[in-house]
Amino acid sequence: MKKYFAVALGILTAIGGFVDIGDLVTNAVVGSRFGMSLAWVVVVGVVGICLFAQMSGRVAAISGRATFEIIRERLGPRAGAANLGASVLITVMTLTAEVGGVALALQLASGVQPLLWIPLAAFAVWLVIWRVKFSVMENVAGLLGLALVVFGVSLFLLGPDWGDLKTQALQQTSHPRETPLTYWYYAIALFGAAMTPYEVFFFSSGGVEEKWTEEDLVTSRANVLVGFPLGGLLSLCIAGCAATVLLPRGIDVDALSQTVFPVAMGAGQLGLAVVILGVVAATFGAALETGLSAGYALAQFNGWSWGKFRRPAEAARFHLTMIICLVVAVLVLLTGVDPILVTEYSVVFSAIALPLTYLPILVVANDPQYVGEHVNGRLMNAVSTVYLALILVAAIAAIPLMILTKAGA
């Protein structure tokens, strides 16, 4: 019974934890500009993150090593350090976006300027990282994040023309205001939002934090293979809401209020309250995950003692790293930069940095010295190699597309 409960809890937190500011903003932007015609990218991204998390979770459970310990071992110090630099940069950028997202959501709830919420949100993130037990932190944030299911409820209440949404998704209807280049730019952004590298650093380091063993492989697999696709479905509901309400009215998403506007239309004031709770939980949870991921990456690479299972005094450099990252995020946000803009860039840069961590994990998931008999099977290798090609193409195409489309303008 306890085991079933653990699996159910894991799945629920995976759903709630899947959506972060990147998914919220990018899906709403894409829905409002392209309708459901980029829904296929969410499906492709979800399959990708399932593969990636499944491999890194298996490596963590069997070898007891998390992502950046492996990257250091397999790539060596120089290529590893370049990899670390890029990955930490993207993670801190995502952390900045998440802290900004918390502040924007609190502004929606209170009307108080986000600039006042930013230091408070970052302080709360630090306090939770410092004090709260790993499992409690993960479960509470994930379960509260489930409030975002209200996007699905709203979509039903809005009563869209389902046939039209299906046509948009399957037949690639034209978008007079858009060019093929912006279509592909947002395809990469959406792919980066679904396959964010920090999710994998967090997932594999979390496996070590929770002392996974071979016996936990089934639970971890269920969390990934059920939780993430349902999280992806939630992403599609966000896009669906935007496609139903914002697209016909020609409203572009450049603020969080526009992302949640369809919920207010579909589910009224109560829906709006629930969605704001969900957005705060999802962005706050993701801020915890990204803050920890930056600490995990640096500490694992440098061989420092790390983990929330240790008291902060026993992992001082790990905790100091996270404090510095949070301070950097706050300073960036206090310049007045728009968190939505940071989010839009962070998802594209996530796609650019993805091969750096995907390749070493794919290599090690095939290495019997790390995972013994649990190496990738043939089918897994076939699919994950196709994804390696896909990830490389997305990473290479991202910057030229960013320049040509002026970041999707």
Binding site: R74, L75, G76, P360, D367, P368, Q369, N381, A382
Partner: protein, 107 residues
């Protein structure tokens, strides 16, 4: 000397430039400790064009996923192991003694 200082250095033999140090090969004689206390440097892996290692694909037992194994096998072509005793000096370049042996780099 730090291993980091050796990796990627050009390697020169009596017949001219041989390539670059792509990796260092160790043997663990005793039981492996957390700090590799019992590891001994056997020699350097010299690769013709590439300065980076082969991500573990120098082991013949690791052959999947096939496209990656094929790619790294191609990159390894022409690479070889020079034993530590065949290394004459290391400064800006690694010099190899005359009469050295090119051992297979595969494991």
């Amino acid at each position: 000397m730090l291993l980091n200082d050796i990796l990627s250095l050009p390697v020169v033999g009596p017949e001219g430039r041989l390539g670059y140090v792509a990796d260092c090969r160790f043997a663990i004689d005793g039981s492996p400790g957390p700090l590799l206390a019992d590891a001994q440097l056997v020699g350097l892996i010299v690769a013709g064009k590439h300065r980076h290692g082969f991500l573990g694909y120098e082991r013949t037992s690791v052959r999947s996923p096939a496209p990656l194994a094929w790619w790294f096998e191609r990159r390894q072509r022409g690479s070889f192991l020079v034993l530590w005793e065949d290394i004459e000096s290391i400064d800006d370049v690694v010099r190899v003694r005359p009469g050295y042996t090119r051992w297979s780099a595969t494991l």
